[in-house]
């Protein structure tokens, strides 16, 4: 290896170790930390973040990167080393553009607004947090403006998690998606509501957890290199390729809550565990983008976990586990219950058909705020009227309206929500490619063998980690760039069949 590359790797390794240590502290904070640990956890993570930032923005790294540019040109462009130099150069230049004084101020603001948001949500009163959210909007604009030359002010924020994505690409795509979904929602919601009472009996926590773990193991989640704990909000975190953890939350009166969160997070975890082990401890050991990551959690949760084939195998098992609760429930009734479509207020509880409408409302509103067309004080009204227009429901108060998601209250306004819907779109595109390559996947799933699908995903997506861009991953795996059609087709076919719709 080139000695300069060796030097770069050794410096980056310290940064990665600090970031991984911080991920462990954060996992602990969400799972096991007693309340009294909160203050000290703040200063501990602040020190790790500060040192990671200092180490990464050290001018010596800039010098090494400069010296390595000609070296990179001689490396095979697809090679891991070339990718490492490319990604590090990109991240380094980005890091230099954001003054550390800004990061410190914004980070302090975010701790503050997060706790005020929690209070505002509990008191169902947006006005409590509105002044701080105005500052968040200022900070979000300020952050975007460190990257002049954008076409839309949201572009730099989006690029941070979904490199290469822009408002100009996303808006027409979302428009088409909305046009495809809206008539479907109208047709379905004019029908009588699906009965899902079978999911809302009493299901003991321990049994729910053990069934979730069984499914995760079947998916191929390696518990020698991972574990599941409980936390208020489910998440996946990776401390290394050898230690990828998920969390879940359990409601004993809901069979779907914990199970589908476990499948969702296990999808993220399969991705992280499936990365080439040679990348461990480097910036290649992560997903290609937030959208690609989300495509994997949603693929497993919905396209697999809410499919008939999946339950052909698992339904007898869950029925055996909960004999009283599911005694007279046919697998078809269960299948329809877990796929119940309804107009609703809460994004995280929304079904597959309406979910993206929730996301697109947020995406449109955050663009309007960033563009200066929507004032923060007018946000609840805009939110509520969009919910009425798109979903036919009006939040009874702000806690189930504009205050429901933590995103705007713990980071920038803009940059995150698009990834949920892009992930959904991609999940269908990836599955279509997998089915074309391995047509036996559905019958294997029906027989409880999830390995063929897992194997295809690992080979075409997971193993590469961040070695390729999201765009490259999509094209390599599916033969073409991001494409909405497979997703629309999937939704139409699945829900057209469930609800006996006649779709043109």
């Amino acid at each position: 290896m080139h000695p300069k590359l060796q030097q770069l790797k050794s410096r980056l390794s310290e940064v990665d170790n600090l970031n991984e240590a911080n991920a462990i502290l954060s996992w602990d904070q969400m799972t096991f930390m007693p309340p009294g640990g909160a203050d000290s956890r703040g200063r501990q993570t602040a020190t790790l973040e500060k040192l990671a930032h200092e180490k990464f923005t050290d001018p010596e790294i800039g010098k090494l990167l400069e010296e390595l540019q000609p070296v990179a040109k001689e490396l095979p462009p697809d090679s891991a080393d070339a990718a490492l130099i490319r990604i590090t150069t990109h991240d380094y230049e980005k890091a230099l553009k954001i003054p550390s004084s800004f990061t410190a101020k914004f980070s302090e603001h975010n701790s503050k607004i997060y706790s005020v948001w929690a209070k505002a949500r509990a008191e169902r009163d947006f006005k409590l947090v509105a002044p701080l959210l105005e500052k968040t909007l200022d900070y979000s604009r300020e952050l975007a403006n460190f990257f002049p030359g954008y076409q839309h002010i949201a572009d730099p924020l989006i690029d941070d998690l979904d490199e290469g994505m822009t408002v100009a690409i996303i808006q027409p795509l979302f428009q088409k998606l909305r046009a495809g979904l809206t008539p479907l929602v109208q047709q379905i919601t004019s029908l009588p509501l699906t009965d899902d009472t079978c999911l809302h009996r009493e299901f003991p926590e321990a049994d729910q957890l053990s069934f979730g773990l069984k499914v995760a193991k079947k998916m191929g989640y390696d518990f020698n290199r991972g574990r599941q704990d409980k936390s208020p909000h489910p998440f996946t975190t990776s401390f290394s390729i050898g230690d990828v953890r998920i969390t879940t939350r359990v409601k004993t009166n809901s069979l779907a809550e914990s199970l589908f969160s476990t499948i969702h997070e296990s999808g993220h975890a399969l991705y992280e565990q499936g990365i080439n082990p040679d990348f461990d401890g480097t910036s290649l050991a992560t997903g290609a983008s937030m959208s690609i990551h989300e495509s994997q959690s949603r693929l497993w949760e919905n396209l697999v976990g809410r499919s008939r084939n999946f339950w052909l195998y698992f339904y007898p098992q869950i029925q055996e586990l909960f004999p009283n609760q599911l005694r007279n429930v046919s697998s078809e009734v269960f299948y329809r219950a877990i796929n119940k479509v309804e107009r609703s207020l809460i994004r995280t509880e929304a079904d597959e058909v309406t979910y993206n409408l929730h996301v697109m409302i947020r995406f449109d509103l955050e663009l309007e705020m960033l563009e200066g067309k929507l004032a923060v004080k007018d946000l609840p009204e805009a939110w509520n009227s969009r919910y009425f227009k798109d979903l036919g429901v009006i939040p009874t108060d702000d806690s189930v309206g504009v205050l429901q998601d933590m995103h705007w209250y713990s980071g920038t306004i803009g940059g995150y929500f698009q990834s949920y819907t892009l992930g959904n779109i991609l999940s269908a595109q990836f599955l279509e490619a997998a089915l074309k390559a391995v047509p036996s996947i559905p019958t294997e799933i029906a027989a409880g063998n999830l390995d063929p699908l897992h194997g295809w995903l690992r080979e075409h997506i997971y193993q590469y980690g961040h070695q390729f861009t999201a765009q490259d991953i999509i094209t390599r795996a599916t033969g073409r760039p991001l494409d909405l059609e497979p997703y629309l087709k999937y939704i139409r076919n699945k829900f057209g069949e469930i609800y006996h719709l006649s779709l043109s």
Copy 2:
């Protein structure tokens, strides 16, 4: 505050945060980490250690300390700021004397010997680890020799955990202790063995854990600032004064194992939780010495937890929890069972009377090795013959002999074991002072009120953390320096009564 002191504190705060973060990583490693995380955990902790060392030995800290010496002289000598400057100066000078190349080599050696030791212990074969232990002995001597001017080569190693203690102080003390204990052991072990079968029935894990937590809460362990988890070896760890955690291990066929480990670790935890909150995040937020720390765990475990008064209150409760297992067991039978004295092979399972004999064997042998009088290859024979001489038993193999404790196989030979016995001695001296000041403590304990004792300990020991030296803490709390008599008196009275001995 003096601006230089402010600067020093701000630099030390980074070091403390790094060390605390590392403690969290280490806690996770011992409790929840999946096996696959081991390799990455190694590089993560190595980076945190390296950065903490770099930050602490930064010449800028040396310069600040130099400039602060005259400032310290103007501060009240008892003040926290004076203590901080004193301790930091001491630690800084010490850290500078140990080359970082040595630390790296020794740390690498320790990872290696630890895993070889685990294998040797499983295979019951000391010879497997002997060559590495010889290197440990070399490293231990090398480390001591970074501090020339010692009277005994073990002194610098002892000083590291028990500042101010030396072989010249400890040896005559241990001699007197051995002279006091030996006749007692001989008398008791000539009597029929106490029946402790009541402790070895089947006790479900969940019930054992809940009872342990109940006791810990009664002791005053604040679970808002702590928690208990399971680990192969019980330990206490502090991430801040607001987050002090313990672990335990449970054997369902032993009622004593988990319960007394919980009380022991809770004793450590009360100390850490009781430190003046103003010291949080500084080097004052720790115990005054290893011996003082151990005195608190042993005081709660033995002088309280194995006392008649304690069980006057708790026995009816544990009997109610385990009605079948303890149905016909009187509180007196239970009390004698938890205080059963016997010649045994394993230190950690030894009773109060023989425990210190185990420790003193180790202490003597490690001195002989450091002095060059005992070769590592001859250690098992020396161990076994000392066990026969002092305890009348001979290990059946090395796993229950010289391989039983991890200390020599994960750190220096020398410097640690003395603290266990010093802690025992101090536990009685502290309790005597507490009883003199608050004579109602025993009757309060018998009524289930442990607060008066906890309050006295917090006031006279815990709150000060590392503000005073161990010697100062002892003198302030008890009116005199370390004194063996209260401990000998306690052991003689307690076990003389239990075993109806006529003691001169």
